[in-house]
């Protein structure tokens, strides 16, 4: 089949969504299909630009290319999933979050514009009216599916997929550090982890891997660590390559991952693949679909105190932590995450 994957790109910025699209594309190739990624450049400010992009997507015609039909369009992100096609399947990574669950959030940008509520309603209208055009609607996770139902009244099926290079993860004996791999930005809550670290009674060490989108955010975190006087227990690894990352996973005592309302979260799955316990929070979203409290990891309140308690616990109970980690691996296997499964569902 000839398949186009419709997604969105923010030029020069690369994240999980790009990896997801590429993973799908590769998997389709391996299954013998012709597949390509169609990425629309997206600018969401000032808010009225979003409406322009919606119209632009609706004006595109990808039903056939040079006389040959495009058999299927798989839409991943807003507003690319609004591109019309008779055989469209949506696998929604997330909607335009600042119009929905992040509307009143401190992280939102839309609410700060005078015409913010107007654009918000327009986005909801577009989603409500046009998402059902697809012949099937899948969601990246149960979290995303629930949001879609709650805000737009649309039913969708959660469809999980494996993280990239799943087979390459391994584990070894735990060393003295907790590992927190993630892009450095506010929603991932590295700041919460730092505050928690300052409250531990043990000399817990925390390694952060990842770069920030904004050049001044890393220095900000570093100075925060210094102010909290924990900078000698914190390691800033910056951008590391995949091998290095897997090595850290393998040697970590536990993986810390407390983002706010994450859509999916590769980190959780990678930790499970590396047989390590995951420390996450009640409002973290995606990770909660995989982590089982006190079975494969710890789920705490999103406060520094609660997280500190969790850090101390794994620091003091290494055996327990390791057992949880192994249980996490078993759980991963039981989930049957495979690209074959994904493709079968998407192309049904």
């Amino acid at each position: 089949m000839r398949i186009l994957i419709a997604t969105v790109q923010v030029p020069f910025i690369r994240g999980g969504a790009e990896i997801h699209a590429e993973g799908l594309c590769d998997a389709l190739h391996q299954a013998g299909h012709e597949a390509e990624i169609l990425a629309i450049p997206f600018k969401w400010y000032p808010p009225e630009k979003i409406l322009d992009h919606i119209l632009a997507c609706r004006l595109l015609d990808v039903t056939e290319v040079a006389g040959t039909r495009v058999d299927r369009l798989i839409g991943l992100r807003f507003p690319a999933y609004l591109i019309p096609h008779p055989n469209k399947v949506l696998w929604i990574l997330h909607q335009h979050r600042t119009a929905y669950e992040l509307w009143d959030h401190a992280l939102s940008d839309l609410v700060y514009y005078p015409n913010g509520s107007q654009v918000r309603d327009a986005i909801e209208q577009a989603d409500r009216k046009l998402i059902p055009e697809a012949r099937a609607v899948f969601a990246n996770s149960r979290n995303v599916a629930q949001r879609l139902k709650r805000f737009c009244g649309i039913d969708s099926t959660p469809l999980y997929h494996p993280p990239p290079n799943a087979e390459k993860f391994y584990y070894t004996e735990a060393e003295d550090f907790l590992f927190f791999p993630s892009r450095l930005c506010i929603p991932k809550r590295q700041e919460l982890a730092l505050r928690a670290l300052a409250m531990t009674r043990n000399p817990v060490r925390l390694s952060f891997a990842g770069t920030s989108d904004h050049p001044d955010y890393t220095p900000k975190l570093e100075s925060m660590a210094r102010k909290l006087k924990i900078h000698n227990r914190v390691e800033w690894l910056g951008g590391i390559n995949e091998d290095e990352k897997r090595s850290r996973y393998a040697r970590a005592l536990a993986v810390v991952y407390p983002p706010v309302d994450e859509d999916y979260g590769y980190v959780t799955l990678e930790a499970m693949l590396a047989s390590k316990p995951v420390i996450t929070c009640r409002d973290s979203g995606g990770p909660l679909e995989f982590v089982l409290d006190q079975t494969t990891g710890l789920i705490t309140e999103p406060t520094p105190e609660a997280l500190a308690t969790a850090f101390d616990f794994v620091w003091e109970n290494r055996e327990q932590a390791a057992a949880w980690g192994r249980a996490g691996r078993v759980r991963y296997e039981s989930l049957n995450l495979s690209w074959t499964n994904v493709i079968q569902k998407l192309l049904a």
């Binding site: 009225e48 409406l51 322009d52 919606i54 119209l55 609706r58 004006l59 609004l82 929905y100 669950e101 509307w103 009143d104 609410v111 700060y112 514009y113 005078p114 015409n115 913010g116 509520s117 107007q118 654009v119 309603d121 327009a122 209208q125 577009a126 009216k129 046009l130 709650r150 805000f151």
Partner: protein
């Protein structure tokens, strides 16, 4: 956000309005009349740029002070919908209008003809003559621009002409989600613009349950008391009334009391003296509410002529009805739409003659006029009651989301047109094709 989907929850509403003690009937009569019902059924926030306001209002709803250049958008966005009360007086509505241009909301348009507002705002308040000319050009083309230049050069000598021919109503409604109007004329005109949804609601006036209309106190015996009140500008036709009265042989059967501020009172007194009406006409100047109400209670016939009118529904007229008074009104604008059995109309071309014939009829038999007063009170109670008005406001507020989507369609259409205009010269099918695409997304 989920609250939006649930009907039972109370709506959160921003209400931009002049507040008492601002000297406008929109604050005194209108707002005070509807506030109890409105605040009771919604989560209301009053927004004002005034430096002082009647603190008693805060028992009903919180008051937020703002500066139009520095207003908190997130706070406005958190409400379900924002209402803007806009009228012809730039002192009370300039800031409101400025905010309305940036954060789309529902405009309650108290005056249809708002040329004075923009003339004063641009030329006097902002010293921006170019801005005024630009708006005139934008809405009325080269002809409007020429007329505007006339106005500027002649010191607004042609202002009446400008008000009538170039009302600038769409500028007041720019960027709004929908309009609420109080007169048939305004409804027809805004609907004809085919851009904004428009709703008609009768101007409200509150009536206490045990309302004493004073009719029983009114002894129908001579001399009959005629009353005029409010700001006695040129459009109140005072000279015409004096002329009609003085030419009436039976004039001694009447007394005329004029309450309210009078520009150039001295020359008015001279005219009264010249017409030999000194013993019949009394000028009271500005009068506090209680005294005015007392006077209204003991009057027999109110005279509420207006020309020219801004197309507004008159709060003072409702006040006249409140006291079950019969009244003489000019046959223009909103007044034309009033039923003949609640008011007596005076034709513009025959002002003196009509006034005199009504006065004579009153002398001959005052009973039908008294009945007219009673009927007008009934009309007030039925059609102009605040609960009914607030229900309409809530219905409009509930449709806000729909209005926003519609507005997004229009905005997008305009931007698409502007974009295409820079690289196509003549396109016959493009507008329809793009319009169809837009309706695909934003239509029902």
């Amino acid at each position: 956000m989920d609250q939006r989907n649930s009907e039972a929850a109370r709506m959160k509403i921003n209400w931009f309005c002049p507040l008492p003690p601002a000297k406008t009937s929109i604050a005194d009569d209108y707002l005070v009349g509807i506030l109890p019902a409105l605040a009771n059924q919604t989560e209301l926030i009053l927004w004002t740029d005034q430096s002082t306001w009647d603190r008693n209002l805060e028992n009903l709803a919180p008051v937020r002070r703002y500066d139009p250049d520095r207003i908190s958008w997130p706070e406005l966005n958190q409400a379900d919908v924002t209402f803007y009360n806009i009228g012809n007086n730039h002192l009370f509505h300039a800031a409101i209008w400025q905010v309305s241009r940036r954060h789309p909301g529902i405009v309650v348009l108290h005056d249809l003809r708002v040329h004075n507002f923009f003339d004063s705002l641009y030329r006097r308040q902002w010293s921006d003559v170019a801005g005024y000319l630009a708006q005139m050009k934008r809405y009325y083309g080269d002809e409007g621009l020429r007329a505007a230049k006339d106005l500027v050069n002649s010191g607004a000598a042609n202002i009446d002409f400008m008000i009538e021919h170039y009302p600038l109503t769409p500028l007041a409604l720019e960027n709004c989600l929908a309009a609420v109007v109080h007169s048939d004329e305004a409804f027809a005109r805004v609907a004809a613009m085919r851009e904004w949804p428009v709703v008609h609601a009768s101007l409200p006036r509150s009536l206490p349950p045990q309302h004493n209309d004073g009719a029983s106190l009114r002894l129908m015996e001579r001399p009959y008391r005629l009353i005029m009140f409010g700001y006695m500008g040129r459009n109140r036709r005072v000279d015409v009334v004096l002329k009609a009265l003085s030419a009436l042989p039976e004039r001694d059967c009447f007394r005329l009391d004029i309450f309210g501020e009078i520009p150039d009172a001295r020359s008015l007194r001279r005219r009264i003296a010249k017409l030999d009406l000194g013993h019949l006409v009394r000028l009271h100047g500005y009068t506090p509410e209680t005294e005015l109400n007392k006077a209204l209670r003991t009057s027999h016939l109110a005279i509420n002529l207006r020309y020219p009118t801004m197309g507004e529904a008159s709060g003072s007229q409702l006040r006249i009805w409140y006291h079950a008074l019969p009244s003489l009104v000019t046959d223009v604008g909103w007044y034309s739409s009033l039923s003949r059995d609640t008011v007596a109309h005076v034709r513009l071309e025959h002002e003196v003659a009509d006034i005199q014939s009504h006065l004579r009829a009153f002398l001959k038999d005052p009973q039908p006029f008294a009945a007219m007063g009673q009927r007008s009170l009934r009309t007030l109670r039925e059609q102009h009651n605040p609960e009914r008005y607030v229900r309409t406001i809530l219905d409009v507020a509930a449709a806000a989301r729909q209005f926003r989507v519609r507005k997004s369609a229009y905005d997008l259409a305009r931007r698409a047109g502007t974009m295409m205009g820079s690289w196509t010269s003549k396109a016959s099918h493009e507008p329809i094709r793009i319009a169809e695409k837009i309706c695909e997304v934003f239509g029902p």
